[in-house]
């Protein structure tokens, strides 16, 4: 019987650090090809429609940027969490609460039409998301409660709260009883503007700025060092005078604020009002983006574009090949598995040996 054996490398492989995400993407493309073939499609046509056709037009590129922007912004915040060993998986809920809080000006004060509304909404959304993220953070620092479970439970609560808001107190009187709020006024929406012929809205440059800022912070500031030290060795970090509790608060506040910001901008650019569902799971997909980008800001920028293309790919195979768009979610999940598996190559050499003594699958 053949088995895999891991041999620890003396140093982290720099080559593999760069190569492993590429290997994972390549393996995912092969997997997708096999799935297309299994469904009776030509695998090459399928891969073309899923991965390449969506970005072969200018319109496709604009769509790609629109979908990638929230993923990148959320994943940047999550990367700080995961690097510092804080497992916030409730970004979807922080996105929702952020969007609700940020929507207060245009919904409750529809006559306050002023350029200041736009930045006000973004700031309020960030505050809302950050405050909502404080719940799992404080439960962790004060009581030692597992943040994975609490942050996830709060996603369900946030979505139910939004559902109540748009069916109850915030339902539009002119909405023919549909569960929607009133339309946002002109200063509460983001309209696309042309940058060199490509139409994007304000959120895309904001995402780029955030990538740059976080890249600098992580690479050349004490805060970046603190995040990494506390993540790799909490004890060593304590000796260096860093506080794990303060880091938990910081990481959750940052990721909550960015999730809230992303949610608000999705609402302001794509929907223009609140409704029961405002995100196709951006908060969860951003987890994949964060890992595919190796928790590195520039990596996340690239990973966000890759994952966003799979959303478009799902729509493309539905219209062109009459296949289910749900295949996209499966391919995203498979990609995350491949990313995690390929990361093994950074720390270990994998050898295939003939099974002898030692570990076997049958205990």
């Amino acid at each position: 019987m053949m088995r895999l054996e891991l041999v620890k490398r003396t140093h982290k492989s720099r080559l593999m650090s760069v190569l492993s995400p590429l290997l994972a993407v390549a393996a995912t493309v092969v997997f997708a090809g096999v799935v297309f073939a299994a469904q009776g499609q030509n695998p090459f046509t399928g891969v073309w429609y899923f991965f390449l056709e969506p970005v072969s037009s200018l319109w496709g590129v604009e769509q790609l940027i629109t979908k990638a922007t929230p993923l990148i912004i959320i994943a940047l915040g999550l990367s700080v969490c995961y690097l510092s060993n804080n497992w916030n998986i409730g970004a979807e809920g922080q996105l929702t609460i952020g969007a609700i809080v940020g929507s207060i000006p245009p919904i409750l004060f529809p006559n306050f039409v002023n350029p200041i509304v736009l930045p006000l909404m973004l700031v309020m959304a960030m505050a809302g998301g950050a405050l909502y993220a404080m719940i799992p953070a404080k439960l962790k620092t004060v009581f030692g409660t597992n943040e994975i479970l609490t942050s996830l439970m709060l996603v369900y609560c946030a979505n139910l709260f939004l559902d109540w808001m748009v069916r109850g107190p915030w339902r539009s009187p002119q909405g023919y009883n549909f569960p929607i709020t009133i339309d946002f006024h002109e200063w509460a929406v983001l309209n696309p503007v042309s940058i060199g012929g490509v139409y994007v809205n304000l959120s895309a440059p904001i995402a780029l700025i955030l990538v740059a800022v976080l890249a600098v912070v992580m690479r050349s500031t004490l805060k970046g060092f603190e995040i990494r030290v506390l993540g790799q060795s909490p004890r060593a970090g304590t000796f260096a005078g860093f506080s794990n509790r303060r880091m938990t608060t910081f990481a959750f506040a940052l990721s909550g604020a960015l999730a809230g910001l992303a949610g608000m901008m999705v609402v302001m650019s794509e929907i223009g009002k609140l409704q029961p569902v405002i995100s196709p799971g951006y908060g969860f997909t951003a987890i994949i983006v964060a890992f595919l980008g190796r928790l590195n800001p520039v990596g996340i920028l690239i990973a966000g574009l890759v994952i966003a293309s799979s959303y478009l790919g799902g729509e493309a195979i539905q219209t062109s090949l009459q296949m289910s768009s749900k295949l996209a979610t499966v391919i995203q999940g498979v990609l995350l598995f491949f990313v995690l598996a390929a990361d093994t190559l950074i720390l270990y050499r994998v050898r295939i040996v003939a099974g002898r003594e030692g570990e076997s699958l049958h205990a």
């Binding site: 620890k8 009581f143 479970l149 609490t150 139910l160 205990a363």
Partner: protein
């Protein structure tokens, strides 16, 4: 009225109990599999699909367990053989399971299923009040209690259970003593997959014989919380599962009674209760730490 409420509490608690007992064994072996939700939802779709295709709910339940095992093996390979991060891999399993079940289930949406028959023992089941409650449940309810007995006995009274706990408490020592750490963990993860799959199949074959996308609605995550709540003791998991079953059911009855309270807030109750329970249990550090498997979530690479 009370009998009807108690009967629905059982149906709400059983999927939680099945999944929690499976995850309890997984965690006792030192592995943290956060993919319970993904395995449950795969069990639900497979259970429904097999039931509808073969016409047999029994085969459906079996299919649910098999589906749970199959997807748990992906997790096992990635985290045990390739020592990938268990937290991230568990999340991957959940995202993958939710996606794949949605894809598989697409053609089953809106189709009527076949309900798993409840037990009927003439005489006993007809007893007033306790009859249906004790002798009129479906087979999975009895199986859930049998698994609590079995797991409790296995962990505390058998050599295999001792090895499993040793592997979970100190994998380096267990390896040095010659126990197959990885092998034991593979088996534990597969057991967890089977139980989560059964829990999912219970939902789509016994609870509501229907397939709805994401129909597990966070129950896998609640099951994970139950394991912490139970501080890794099987009997406490029963208490926890029935407590959550009661909260879930009270919410439905409150909605039916038309209490002037928005239904969305009532629907939040199980999730809020999970948070409250987790906070309460984390206040009791000593009891928790005593039973926590010491190697939980830590990667293991055998040295030769």
């Amino acid at each position: 009225m009370l009998e009807a409420i108690l009967l629905t509490v059982v149906t709400a608690a059983t999927p939680l109990l099945l999944a929690a007992i499976g995850e309890l064994v997984v965690e006792k072996s030192g592995v943290l599999n956060l993919g319970v939700e993904g395995m449950m939802v795969m069990g639900a779709v497979a259970g429904f699909a097999v039931t509808i295709t073969t016409g047999s709910p029994f085969l459906g339940v079996l299919g649910g367990a098999v589906a749970g095992v199959l997807v748990s093996l992906i997790f096992a390979f990635v985290t045990l053989t390739l020592v990938a991060n268990q937290v991230a891999s568990g999340l991957a399993l959940t995202l993958f399971g939710l996606g794949l079940s949605g894809l598989i289930g697409e053609s089953f949406v809106g189709q009527p299923g076949i309900k798993l028959q409840s037990l009927y023992i003439p005489g006993l089941t007809d007893l007033p009040f306790v009859g249906k409650l004790l002798f009129g449940q479906d087979i999975l309810v009895y199986l859930s209690f049998a698994s609590v007995f079995g797991v409790s006995w296995f962990l505390n009274r058998t050599r295999g259970g001792l090895i499993l706990r040793a592997v979970g408490d100190n994998h380096a020592s267990a390896h040095a003593l010659g126990y197959p750490v990885i092998g034991v963990r593979y088996l534990a993860v597969m057991f967890g997959g089977a139980m989560a799959g059964l829990g999912g199949a219970y939902m789509s074959v016994a609870y509501t014989p229907l397939w709805v996308e994401n129909m597990t609605a966070g129950r896998g995550w609640i099951a994970l919380a139950l394991v912490v709540f139970a501080s890794w003791l099987p009997w406490r998991a029963v208490f926890g599962a029935y407590l959550f079953g009661t909260v879930t059911v009270l919410q439905f009855h409150a909605q039916a009674l038309g209490i002037g309270f928005p239904s969305q807030f009532l629907s939040m109750l199980p999730y809020l209760a999970t948070i409250v329970v987790l906070v309460a249990i984390s206040g009791n550090r000593r009891a928790t730490l005593f039973n926590t498997p010491a190697s939980l979530g830590k990667p293991f690479v055998p040295d030769r």
